[in-house]
């Protein structure tokens, strides 16, 4: 096992596992976020957010998630730097259009845009929820007699007041979707779970999944931006 992590396939293996873990996280995250647009009073989303904030399992998963992100980013960076070095003299003329998908060639750039978005996103919400004393303190609300933070107000007021943030979140969703059109099936190929038949299935599934993720995350800021939640 010693040189597993220095081998190309070993690094790809960890990158894939971290990627798949992040995909699992995205599914939960999106499901929870969609509560935002199904109840304009915000109670549904507040209950969901309160459940996540107080659930002991989530407490354990949170640091693992952070590690997953860090592993993914660090390995992606190492692999990308090595790949750049592997061709010291570049071609004068290159025509890759017919060879492979644009997203597959630009995974690092797509990932980097997602990362920038992630930083803004964490600052917007996570920071204010975790450290209410440092940022803007969260309002309190009561749902069914239980007092909890009004997370809905935090999210909805951001999207209702700032078109710029809405557009940024929509862009973030689109770039994440593009990352996943390739990433989803690539992860299975990297761990060896692929053959002629499964390749077609996984590539198709990747497109559907990426579409659901992109549309799912875009629809939320759009909903508020277009005034469906009232003013």
């Amino acid at each position: 096992m010693s040189n597993f992590l220095t081998s190309s396939i070993g690094k790809k293996f960890i990158l894939s596992l971290s990627g798949l873990f992040l995909i699992a996280f995205l599914c939960v995250h999106l499901a929870l976020n969609l509560l935002l647009i199904f109840d304009n009073s915000g109670d549904l989303f507040n209950i969901g957010a309160h459940f996540m904030a107080t659930n002991p399992i989530i407490k354990i998963v949170e640091p693992i998630l952070a590690i997953g992100f860090i592993l993914h980013i660090v390995l992606a960076s190492i692999l990308t730097i090595q790949n750049q070095k592997a061709r010291p003299i570049k071609y004068a003329r290159r025509n890759q259009g017919g060879n492979c998908e644009w997203s597959s060639r630009n995974m690092y750039i797509l990932g980097a845009v997602v990362l920038i978005f992630l930083a803004v996103h964490l600052y917007n919400f996570w920071w204010n929820i975790k450290f209410p004393t440092l940022g803007t303190p969260l309002a309190e609300t009561t749902v069914d007699g239980v007092a909890m933070e009004d997370t809905y107000l935090l999210v909805s007021s951001l999207f209702k007041t700032s078109v710029v943030y809405c557009l940024l979140y929509i862009l973030g969703g689109i770039f994440l979707g593009l990352h996943l059109t390739h990433g989803f099936w690539s992860a299975f190929q990297s761990i060896g779970f692929c053959n002629q038949i499964w390749r077609k299935r996984l590539e198709c599934l990747a497109k559907i999944f990426a579409f659901i993720i992109a549309v799912g995350f875009c629809i939320i800021p759009l909903y508020f931006m277009l005034g469906f939640a009232g003013n």
């Binding site: 190309s8 690094k11 790949n83 592997a86 061709r87 004068a92 060879n99 492979c100 060896g192």
Partner: protein, 253 residues
């Protein structure tokens, strides 16, 4: 059907005196090339022209000129083995080009394949990977009966498809990461699929991947460009098998 004549072509060709020299593009004009001639024949005509002008001919690799040896190379107009799919440069014909066209010809660009002269690169890195494990150990003795070990037809076919690799290097040359995974996967698959090769499968996968990494090839990101450019249409499903073989072998350690 009579072949048409391309009246004039402009060739932008990479010229480099030797491995240590810097090199650069030279532009040449060539006239009256038949569309029926192969790309390498066109370069032959250019070289005759250069020799008659007392200039150094362009060095390029070739041998069988019928797509079976894997010696020819060339990055033509931004693509390995030129604009056609599933052919080597020696099988490419001038009918693929328009009269008056400018054609850019570069050597394989890959750190592990250094340029020796003009368009010739040293593909010894692929030999080294093969030497690391791309074989089946056989004891001396009488010739074994070829049919003594039954092999299912589908496995034999898959192994045969992988064995079609001619080691041309287009996969690493075209890959945005300069990864040699398609070549290594073809060689590992071709043997791992057969009973005779299974015995050493774990050691082979580990040794060949280690050699590939050591020689400075990049990391595969599954873009699939190699498969599109491979003259033998080797499928990247073999890369999935290589990943499996390697991960299995490592987990057992």
């Amino acid at each position: 059907m009579a072949d048409k004549i391309l009246k004039e072509l402009t060739l932008k060709i990479w010229r480099q005196k030797d491995a240590k020299s810097k090199g650069g593009f030279e532009t040449y004009k060539i006239h009256n090339v038949s569309t029926g001639s192969s790309f390498l024949e066109m370069l032959d005509i250019l070289n005759e022209q250069l020799v008659s002008e007392n200039k150094e001919p362009v060095a390029f690799d070739h041998d069988c000129r019928e797509g079976i040896c894997g010696t020819c190379s060339l990055f033509i107009d931004g693509r390995a083995h030129g604009p056609d799919d599933d052919v080597t440069t020696c099988q490419l014909h001038m009918r693929r080009f328009e009269d008056g066209a400018t054609i850019t010809i570069e050597p394989w660009r890959c750190g592990a394949f250094p340029v020796i002269k003009d368009l010739i690169v040293d593909r010894g890195a692929y030999e080294k990977i093969l030497q690391a494990g791309g074989y089946v150990s056989v004891n001396t003795g009488g010739v074994p009966d070829g049919n003594a070990i039954p092999i299912p037809k589908d496995k034999a076919d898959e192994a045969m498809d992988a064995a079609a690799c001619i080691g041309c290097g287009a996969c690493a040359a075209t890959c945005k990461n300069s990864s040699a995974m398609l070549f290594v996967a073809a060689k590992v698959s071709q043997l791992a699929l057969l009973p005779q090769g299974k015995v050493e499968a774990a050691r082979r996968a580990k040794a060949m991947v280690a050699k590939m990494d050591e020689l400075g090839f990049g990391n595969c990101t599954n873009t699939g460009a190699c498969e599109s450019e491979c003259p033998k249409s080797i499928s990247i499903e073999h890369i999935a098998r290589l990943n499996r073989e390697f991960l299995k072998a490592k987990l057992k350690d």
